[in-house]
């Protein structure tokens, strides 16, 4: 709540208008940002009244939702000379105040996080593919892996230890700063992905279904089936596995994904003699994506 009272001993300046500037911005601990929140224009807002407001003040209230960070308020008023006192000097006054809008003190219940992920995935998958997903709770495994299903954790930001959005750490080469990726699904940082856990899940689900599954996985399958004669289509579950690997993002190479062509006979480049091409779970060379898929599937909620 913002409240300003302009008073003068003689009462001449009591109705001096106050100009407010309220800025909400969020920058991660590694310097990603600033992401600017919605601006508040008090000139278009209705002033409050009631017990919490002084009788001669103008009082404004705003509830911040899905945003957070550093809230800087500047209030200023310039008392101009009233006609009855033309020789007095004008008196500008200003006041600055900084506070913080953090994540909720009480963690978002994990049951809500899980239910939302299942709902989002089922809906997006069904729309995109035309049938329900083989693993409706698939994204819960990714979220477990990425963040242990948490949007906020207690860290110190702006010198204030509080629940802030869960950030990726800086990589050791400092190419990527802390907070480049954020929240439950560790998607690219932004005001809503950081402070709105539902939006964070939505971003992750969009990315998974519309890019990793529908573009990357289907594209890879199509390219390999063109190259490897007789290679069957991936099953829906296998496609999910490949998309999980792409979400992890270690490699983009077609033949290094979690399912890869395998010749049951003798392979020579893309030709399979005395056998057929099949898909095989790619455990060659201790693939990191494959480990990721295994772990994701082991932690479905």
């Amino acid at each position: 709540m913002w409240e300003a009272v302009v008073q003068s001993p003689d009462g001449l300046y009591d109705n001096t208008p106050v100009t407010w500037t309220v800025t909400l911005s969020y920058t991660s601990s590694g310097g990603k940002g600033p992401f600017i929140g919605p601006s508040l224009d008090f000139s278009t807002m209705s002033a409050m009244s009631g017990q919490s407001c002084a009788s001669n003040s103008l009082c404004y209230s705003n509830v911040f939702s899905s945003v957070g960070g550093q809230l800087m308020t500047a209030a200023s008023a310039t008392a101009s000379n009233p006609p009855s006192q033309p020789t007095q000097l004008s008196c500008p006054v200003s006041f600055n105040y900084t506070t913080y809008v953090t994540g909720p003190q009480k963690a978002v219940p994990q049951s809500e996080i899980v239910a939302m992920l299942i709902s989002l995935y089922t809906s997006l998958y069904t729309t995109a593919v035309g049938m329900p997903p083989p693993t409706p709770n698939l994204l819960t495994g990714i979220a477990w892996h990425e963040s242990r299903l948490e949007q906020f954790k207690s860290i110190t930001l702006y010198g204030t230890k509080a629940p802030w959005p869960i950030e990726n750490p800086p990589d050791v080469k400092h190419n990527t700063v802390s907070g480049a990726f954020i929240g439950i699904m560790q998607v690219p940082n932004g005001m809503s992905n950081a402070f709105d856990w539902k939006m964070n899940e939505q971003s992750g689900a969009d990315l998974f279904v519309n890019m990793k599954l529908q573009q990357f996985t289907i594209g890879m399958e199509s390219r390999l089936r063109t190259l490897y004669s007789g290679l069957p289509a991936l099953t829906p579950t296998q496609r999910e596995d490949v998309a999980i690997g792409y979400y992890y993002g270690v490699t983009s190479k077609d033949t290094e994904q979690t399912w890869t062509p395998f010749c049951t006979g003798i392979a020579s480049k893309t030709t399979c003699s005395g056998g057929v091409w099949q898909w095989i779970f790619n455990t060659a060379n201790d693939r990191l994506e494959t480990n990721f898929v295994t772990s994701v599937r082991a932690h479905l909620q």
């Binding site: 954790k153 207690s154 990726n168 990589d171 480049a180 560790q186 990315l207 990357f216 190479k253």
Partner: protein, 310 residues
Amino acid sequence: MRKRRTLPSMAAFWLMSTCANLAPFSVCAAEPAGKDRPFAKKSDAQDLLGEQDWSAASALTLNSNKVPRNLVVSYINENVTDEPPITDADLCSFGFFDFGISNKVILLASVASGRHFCNTVAALQPGKRPWTFDVWLEDDVQKIVKRAQGSRRALLVFEELWHPTSGMAWCNATWQRVFAPGIDGFIDVGQKYPELYRERLEDLIATIAHLDAPDHRKTRPSDSNDPRLESSCAVMEADRIKRYLGIDRKAGLNTAETWALSPDPLLRGNAIAVFQNINSLEARRAIAKLVQDPDRDVAAQALQAEHPSR
């Protein structure tokens, strides 16, 4: 023989191309050429970029004339046909580099996956097979090309992912790779350039000191993790470099043994990666103990480390 176009006219042509301006590149680009018939069908990108002057002397011109990003995206999509096509938003950075091995420059492009991880570097040159490298968060190609000491030759020096502790919210251990262009592609030349690993080791030691400093620990604690976790990935790489350079063949073993006793399963997982890399009798025994770990991820990881081909 086609007349070479100059870059300014190339850019103008690009801007005039209705298709390029209105439609996604996947629509405009020519049918992807298979590996067995590279450059079978030429398109605008092949014509415009592929037929430029790629001589070493022109590196400065190519870089300073600001080749349109769209053209580079299209050129990558036409040449790198075994990966998902990219869009303009996926191109993290690019540049033309004279590696000093031939009189031609090489186009290096860092490409992002959907979460904007710049995890692929493509190396392209007209008439040559394209190369792609799996890298870890290498956004800027200018930073991964280094001159070898006392030589005109340049090297490609980047980090690749070694061991993930978990998702992006925790540290991921990486390992430095060094490649040099050869006659038919790039060759791993890490062993020939120990000075590059010594440089990296110095950086890592400074990073570890920073992450372990009490002031830093105060501001970035994770309430639920072992406080050693955050610097553990840098420690892992530093110790691996010491082993690689022969400074200390058992570097990291004692540290990993203490990590193996941590209540934090992520740190115990990092210990397994260290043991696996050391691969001594003691290290293998330590892995065998962790197969019985109460955390199923750690146990599974240990089992896989015991039998890497499973």
